[in-house]
């Protein structure tokens, strides 16, 4: 019954034969994968295997890096995001990103959260305030900062800053949220909060998360993709990957035999 439902879940993003080159170095070697809508997909794999690279191709943040070449196709809701007609700015509105290191702007908490909406042309203060409150609540930060919204965001702790960055990304209401090791710099309590958050967000967003923490991957994700040296070794439901991996390398990695 449950299996049935999962298979019906459509793909939000379909990636076919994706290759990414940094100058001559081939960082991704023909990845084909379908990311399910309203599910959490975890990307795991040893350091340097191309997880971040893959994540960045999904909202074309790789464009910022000089000498990057991408071949293959990535479709978001069936539209090729590397087609010349695709507007990168629009794409990034739909596919938000949270970085490994918290990167709040040197502005107030409020200004950080409404940064995106403000630039899409929303000027009404009441409306911006609503967005701010909603996003901060979604990011489980509201109670901690509601009394100092106009203080600098740099005064927050690392965990708070990371949740602020999540709130900032949520404020623009993307369809997909990419998270690159969002909890790697955080203490267990903050990490737990962020994991709860991800579970909450699942109903409205498609989430792709990179993590090195196997327990975390097991806790939060529905699907897991295992990368190794630029190749996708195995992809499937998290339970399956963790309990009955079909590839010995996956098993080695998960059980901590290497990586």
């Amino acid at each position: 019954m449950e299996n049935q439902r999962r298979e019906q879940q459509p793909d939000k993003i379909t990636v076919e034969n994706l290759r990414v080159f940094y100058k001559d170095f081939e960082a991704l070697k023909g990845i084909t994968i379908g990311i399910k809508a309203n599910r959490v997909t975890a990307l795991i794999g040893p350091s340097g295997c191309g997880k971040s690279t893959f994540l960045r191709t999904l909202n074309r943040m790789n464009d910022l890096i000089e000498g990057v070449r991408v071949t293959g196709s990535i479709k978001l809701d069936g539209e090729d995001i590397y087609a010349p007609t695709c507007d990168v700015v629009d794409l990034r509105k739909r596919v938000g990103m949270v970085f490994q290191r918290p990167n709040p702007f040197p502005k107030s908490i409020f200004e950080n959260v409404v940064y995106g909406p403000r630039r899409y042309g929303i000027k009404n203060r009441v409306q911006l305030m609503e967005i701010c409150e909603r996003s901060l609540k979604q990011a489980a930060l509201w109670d901690e900062v509601k009394d100092r919204l106009h203080h600098s965001a740099l005064g927050l702790s690392g965990g708070q800053q990371q949740r602020l960055c999540i709130a900032r990304a949520l404020a623009v209401q993307p369809e997909v949220l990419l998270m690159d090791e969002p909890a790697s710099a955080l203490d267990p309590i903050s990490t737990a909060k962020i994991e709860d958050l991800i579970a909450d967000l699942k109903k409205d967003y498609t989430i792709v998360i990179v993590t090195h923490n196997m327990q975390q991957a097991g806790r939060v994700s529905d699907y897991t993709a295992f990368f190794l040296a630029g190749e996708l070794i195995e992809y499937g439901e998290t339970a399956t990957i963790f309990e009955r991996p079909s590839d010995p390398r996956t098993e080695d990695y998960i059980t901590g035999r290497f990586g």
């Binding site: 909202n59 910022l64 000089e66 700015v89 938000g96 970085f99 290191r101 940064y115 899409y120 990304a169």
Partner: protein, 755 residues
């Protein structure tokens, strides 16, 4: 020695060295400041006077003094002379150690024969003349010269006196009580007041015809009927064209003597009291009798002193409805008792006044300062003379002669003359003027730093108008939009630009750019309009291009695409310039500018400076801004872009605000550079110290002024020290700007580090 102590030792010595370096820099700045301050300090030192010599208590001297009508002292303060009523001179040797024994009244034949007695005399040291008024109404000019001579191997001062032709000034043979004499071009004028209060003038003129034959004429006038009171003082301008007379009703009369046969009374002006300066017809009389009148060096400023102790300096200024009228311009610290003597300086606008109670004051007319007030003892003075070098005052008292040495090296300078509006003689109203040297020794230095500071600010302003947008926007483009390769070209090029010696820039600006722009001015005007228009048009077209076509060009390349287009616009403007000039500017843009806007066009003007100095400022602004902009963490940029915000919004929303302190500091340091820049402003402006904001006129900057004037300023002189004030001002200004810039930058670094 084990590793740990060695490491500690290294650490310690490194810290000590760094501290020493910092201290040395502080020390150098402090020393520089101290040196500048030391050169400026004497300007602030107050003037002083002290009694240097006193010759007294000798019955014979007392008699001589009682009989004296005029006194004087030579340049080196070695000899004083006293002219007696009988025409004999008495000389006092002031150079000997013990003044009591040096009363040396060398017997000389009297200046005139026949036993006539002088009733009054007036010594005009500037003209080197004593004019003697006789009891029989005659006036006698005597040329006086005191010069050093060696007699029997001993240095003495010789007094040479040449007696001129006497004139009968008072026709009825009455004794004269006031007198003056002036020798102008082709004329000699005598004026006097007789014991009866009669005001008489005698003008002797020589009109030369083309063929050499001279014609002499003599005109005597009795001006008494025109007086409303009794004349109490008079003075002739040194050119003999103006006669000023004061009366016991506090009125000042201004006569124009240009027409020898009919002197014209130009005005009767209230000399003192609340209505001072108004014409008598409208305001009545003054409060006190005028007691002394004297022209200062240059013959334009007239000191008017009165029985109430008031002292004012007058010169002619335009008065509505009355033409050029003598007006009280400077008011000086007054006396308690009636003023009896006014002694002008022979070098500058200083003058001393003495009152009936024996108080002597030293004033400077233009700066309105009164330097000191000396209590010289009870009793009125018989005479007061300022020594030729302003370094002493000779006081003739009832029983003694005193020499007071005076130290007053920089009378012209005060806060007000350096930084305030000053009413200089010959000017219609108070103004800020810099004019340090002039043709004659009667010239008065005008040392207002305001026009120079204004020039510095003007130059800085126009340089910044040019350099700030280019520097900051260039940095923005290079750091945010240009490709790595372009960055690698642009940055070194700008660095080379920074290394250009400013003398080269100044030279190019003055000798190449200035004439070029003067030649193609209409085209320049066209470019000022067409380039921004072309840019806006391009942006518009670009936005309407289909997205895919735009995507073909990587970010940053679109700006490069503009270059050929701009080239075309410039070429087109150059072609159209002459057409514009002949059609819209009536063939000559200079006339047109003047006709339409009332502007004059200097070839070396602020536009040239804006461009040339902008060239010097751009690298500073560019490098620091670029530094600040590219040190904005890439994560912030990525964070913004990941939110679906455009590149430009990211730049304005995150990059610029984060780098703002750095940009502000680049501007500050750029201003500092422009303020201190010397060679460019020196070579590419006309260096005229005018205060006028017009972009097509030049200016004179503080820095260029120092460069221009320092070689001509005598070391230790007033100009020299004022130039140091200018240097100090520049130093403080640039120090302040740079410090502020650095502080802001340090603040910014802290802010970025916290990220």
């Amino acid at each position: 020695m084990d590793i740990r102590t060695r490491r500690q030792l290294m650490d310690l010595s490194g810290r000590v060295l760094a501290a020493l370096g910092a201290l040395a820099i502080f020390g150098a700045i402090f020393l520089l400041f101290g040196f500048l301050a030391r050169e400026v300090a004497p300007l602030l030192r107050p003037a002083s006077a002290e009694q240097a010599l006193r010759v007294e208590q000798d019955a014979r001297l007392a008699k001589i003094l009682a009989e004296s009508v005029a006194a004087g002292v030579d340049e080196y303060l070695e000899q004083a002379f006293l002219l007696q009523r009988d025409g004999t001179f008495h000389l006092l040797d002031l150079s000997m150690g013990d003044p009591l024994t040096t009363v040396d009244s060398t017997e000389r034949p009297p200046l005139w024969a026949g036993g006539a007695k002088a009733s009054v005399a007036r010594y005009d040291p500037l003209a080197g003349r004593i004019v003697v008024g006789m009891e029989d109404g005659r006036a006698l000019p005597v040329d006086i010269q005191q010069r050093a001579a060696f007699i029997e191997g001993r240095r003495t001062v010789e007094l040479l006196a040449t007696v001129g032709d006497a004139v009968r000034l008072e026709p009825h043979g009455r004794s004269l009580v006031h007198i003056d004499w002036a020798a102008g071009q082709n004329r000699e004028v005598a004026a006097g007041i007789s014991e009866e209060g009669r005001l008489v003038v005698l003008i002797r003129e020589e009109t030369r015809s083309l063929f050499g034959g001279g014609q002499r004429s003599e005109h005597a006038h009795d001006l008494t009927p025109l007086l409303s009171g009794r004349a109490t003082a008079l003075a002739l301008a040194p050119d003999g064209l103006t006669l000023a007379v004061g009366d016991d009703g506090g009125l000042l009369y201004q006569w124009d003597l240009a027409n020898a046969s009919s002197p014209r009374l130009i005005g009767k002006i209230v000399a003192n009291g609340p209505e001072a300066g108004r014409v008598a017809e409208e305001a009545g009389r003054g409060s006190f009798a005028v007691t002394a009148l004297a022209y200062l060096i240059g013959g334009r400023s007239l000191v008017v002193a009165d029985a109430g102790g008031g002292v004012t300096t007058w010169f002619t200024v335009p008065v509505e409805g009355h033409g050029q009228l003598l007006q009280p311009v400077h008011r000086h610290q007054g006396h308690v008792a009636a003023v009896v003597h006014v002694a002008p300086s022979q070098r500058n606008r200083n003058f001393a006044t003495a009152d009936a109670a024996g108080v002597v004051k030293l004033h400077h007319s233009t700066s309105e300062q009164t330097f000191f007030s000396l209590e010289t003892g009870a009793g009125s003075l018989g005479g007061l003379v300022m020594a030729p070098k302003n370094d002493a005052l000779l006081l003739v008292k009832e029983g003694s002669v005193e020499l007071w040495s005076v130290s007053n090296p920089h009378p012209e300078v005060s806060w007000k003359t350096l930084f305030g509006k000053v009413h200089y003689e010959g000017y219609p109203r108070p103004a800020y003027v810099w004019q340090s040297t002039g043709g004659s020794n009667a010239f008065e230095p005008k040392l207002s730093l305001i026009p120079l500071a204004f020039g510095t600010l003007k130059g800085t302003f126009y340089a910044l108008i040019f350099a700030l947008p280019l520097g900051v926007l260039g940095a923005l483009y290079t750091s945010q939009f240009a490709s790595k390769r372009l960055q690698q070209i642009v940055k070194p090029v700008v660095e080379v630009m920074a290394g250009l010696p400013s003398v080269v820039l100044g030279f190019l600006a003055g000798l190449w750019l200035a004439p070029l722009i003067a030649r193609i001015f209409p085209a320049v005007v066209l470019m000022a309009v067409s380039i921004p228009l072309a840019l806006i048009a391009c942006a518009w077209v670009w936005r309407r291009l289909p997205g895919p076509l735009r995507e073909r060009f990587p970010a940053g390349v679109e700006a490069l695409l503009l270059m050929p287009l701009l080239g075309l616009v410039v070429l087109g403007s150059l072609q159209l310039g002459p057409v514009l000039e002949s059609l819209a500017m009536r063939g000559d843009f200079r006339f047109w500018l003047f006709d339409v806007f009332g502007w004059t066009y200097d070839q070396r003007n602020s536009l040239i400076i804006g461009i040339a100095m902008g060239f010097a400022v751009i690298p500073v602004v560019f490098s620091i801004s670029e530094d600040a902009l590219s040190s904005v963490p890439q994560e912030l940029v990525a964070g913004s872009l990941a939110l679906g915000v455009t590149r430009w919004q990211t730049v304005t929303g995150v990059v610029v605000p984060t780098a703002l302190p750095g940009i502000v500091s680049s501007v500050m340091i750029g201003i500092g550079r422009a303020v201190g820049e010397t060679m460019i402003v020196l070579m590419a402006t006309g260096n005229t110290p005018v205060m006028d904001f017009n972009i097509f006129n030049g200016f004179r900057a503080l820095s260029a002024n120092i460069a221009v004037e320092m070689p001509e300023a005598p070391v230790g002189g007033t100009l020299y020290r004022v130039l140091f004030v200018a240097a100090l001002l520049l130093f403080l200004f640039t120090f302040f700007l740079n410090t502020l810039g650095e502080l802001v930058r340090a603040q910014m670094r802290k802010r970025v580090e916290r990220l």
